[in-house]
């Protein structure tokens, strides 16, 4: 009985990945048993060299790829064929190239696309769109085509398209790639201001340090380190073992 009560009182983790195994159809084993737990409100960086399995892991979080073994739970709901639509609402993935994400003719329609798929309509939909665009500071660009926005603006609109779905956890794939320094800083300010649970896949280690108190290093399909970002990044030997390094001139 007490156990039952505890379950109700303590919010379930936003993300719980247990012993996840996955092999691609060509036989390449991409994930060798990944364990990851992210509590509500945490901001976690997912680091690792190219080919470590980061993107494969991300595509498991919303059921695009189905695990060979192991489970993924989002706020207590496990990912399966029957829950996949609700899971996709709870997991907001911002893809690396905004041109892949923004496919509608105008910003407003693109931001409305997600919530409309999840059954929001009418005034509630308009309110969601306005709120999401305001959160990223793009409310005055609503009627423009994504084609005519700068790289940084596109990235922020891509973020808004996901925010409009009101996700439990935001998953960002290389959010700082192809951004100029000002756009990079502005995006960081937006992300910090959201106050949402976040998993950020990145090669940009200073960005991880700026945004995420905790980091996880994934290499060869397995979590090899999990701890405070500053400590992990200060361990030069650990970084070198996993083909990571701070940019020239940086020291911790």
């Amino acid at each position: 009985m007490t156990l039952q009560q505890d379950v109700h009182v303590i919010a379930p983790p936003s993300l719980l990945v247990r012993d996840l195994l996955f092999a691609y159809p060509d036989g390449h084993q991409a994930l060798h048993g990944v364990d990851l737990r992210i509590e509500p409100g945490e901001r976690v960086a997912l680091l690792g060299p190219n080919g470590a399995g980061k993107t494969t892991l991300v595509l498991h979080l919303n059921g695009i790829l189905a695990p060979g073994a192991g489970t993924v739970e989002i706020a207590g709901l496990s990912v399966s064929r029957t829950t996949v639509q609700e899971i996709r609402r709870r997991v907001g993935i911002v893809f690396q190239d905004p041109d892949d994400q923004l496919f509608m003719p105008t910003v407003r329609e693109d931001v409305a696309f997600g919530p409309a798929n999840f059954g929001v309509s009418g005034d509630a939909l308009a309110a969601r769109v306005a709120e999401a665009l305001a959160a990223v500071g793009m409310e005055d660009q609503a009627d423009r085509s994504p084609l005519h926005l700068s790289g940084g603006q596109r990235r922020r609109v891509a973020l808004a398209t996901v925010l409009a779905c009101d996700p439990e956890i935001l998953v960002l794939d290389e959010p700082s790639s192809n951004l100029d320094p000002v756009a990079r800083r502005e995006l960081a300010e937006v992300l910090l201001g959201l106050g949402r649970t976040m998993l950020m896949v990145t090669h940009d280690l200073p960005y991880a340090l700026q945004l995420c108190p905790r980091s996880v290093i994934l290499d060869d399909g397995i979590v090899v380190a999990d701890g405070p970002t500053r400590e992990l990044l200060a361990d030069g030997e650990l970084l070198a073992r996993h083909r990571l390094e701070l940019p020239y001139g940086f020291h911790l």
């Binding site: 695009i64 996709r88 892949d100 003719p105 105008t106 409309a116 798929n117 005519h148 779905c165």
Partner: protein, 254 residues
């Protein structure tokens, strides 16, 4: 380049025609062309009436006549066939300036020329007053197959992205000294097109993944709550009513 918001056939203006909902304009243009096609070819004055009607619509839409006429030259290749008909058509023949012309051929040529031209002018009027995006919305509201409108929407969005990619690939080729002047040097260009196809295919996959991640289930959700009023339909179909009267007159006088 990269100015995807204007297509060369669109003339952005503030006018009553521009403000009409796109589906009304699509239906009106379609019915208008039907009226023209249904008019007997011998009813010559009626075709003058159609021209006056179009002039009235252009005035309402504030489209300069010259602007439309310049764009109507796309019709020219199709007119060539019509020009041949009077020479190749069957008897009876009439003599004109020393040329022996077939009378049914002349009428056939006139038929193609006048109806084709009116059809092109009507389509140009629709295109001039309706942005491409709204045309798609209009088709969607007219219950065109969802797959078709979705594909067209994506095409509209990615045409510029893909042509941008093609431009960058070409620049990269030229920067490495590629200067195709002869047919046998076209190999690199051909391979470039192949690579572009693969890249577009891969992008398609990524776009699809991103759509799935936002809950796409195969049907485009309804995003706008705009309603079309009865007054819109009345305004939009008024020229069609005139065209229908003209077509009817044609049958009476012919």
């Amino acid at each position: 380049m990269g100015a995807g918001h204007v297509h060369p056939l669109h003339l952005p203006r503030e006018s009553v025609v521009h403000r009409l909902p796109p589906q009304v304009k699509i239906v009106a243009a379609f019915l208008g062309v039907i009226c023209v096609v249904a008019t007997p070819r011998e009813a010559f004055p009626v075709f003058g009436g159609y021209v006056l009607l179009l002039l009235a619509v252009w005035a309402a839409a504030r489209i300069p006549v010259g602007w439309i006429l310049r764009r109507s030259v796309i019709e020219l290749p199709f007119v060539v066939l019509a020009v041949l008909l009077p020479f190749t058509g069957p008897d009876p023949r009439i003599d004109w300036l020393g040329l022996s012309l077939s009378e049914p051929g002349l009428l056939g040529a006139w038929n193609i020329l006048v109806k084709g031209t009116l059809g092109v002018l009507t389509s140009l009027t629709l295109a001039a007053t309706t942005p491409m995006r709204d045309l798609l919305v209009g088709l969607q509201r007219l219950r065109a197959p969802a797959l078709v409108t979705t594909i067209a929407t994506l095409m509209l969005r990615y045409l510029d992205v893909i042509s941008g990619e093609a431009r960058r690939m070409r620049l990269a080729r030229i920067s490495r000294g590629h200067d195709p002047r002869f047919l046998w040097q076209a190999g690199a260009t051909a391979r470039g097109i192949g690579a572009l196809f693969l890249r577009s295919y891969e992008r398609g996959e990524r776009v699809h993944l991103a759509m799935l991640s936002r809950g796409w289930t195969g049907a485009m959700p309804v995003l706008t709550a705009d309603t079309t009023t009865r007054a819109d339909w009345v305004r939009g179909l008024a020229p069609v009513a005139v065209a229908a009267v003209l077509a009817g007159t044609g049958w009476v006088i012919a």
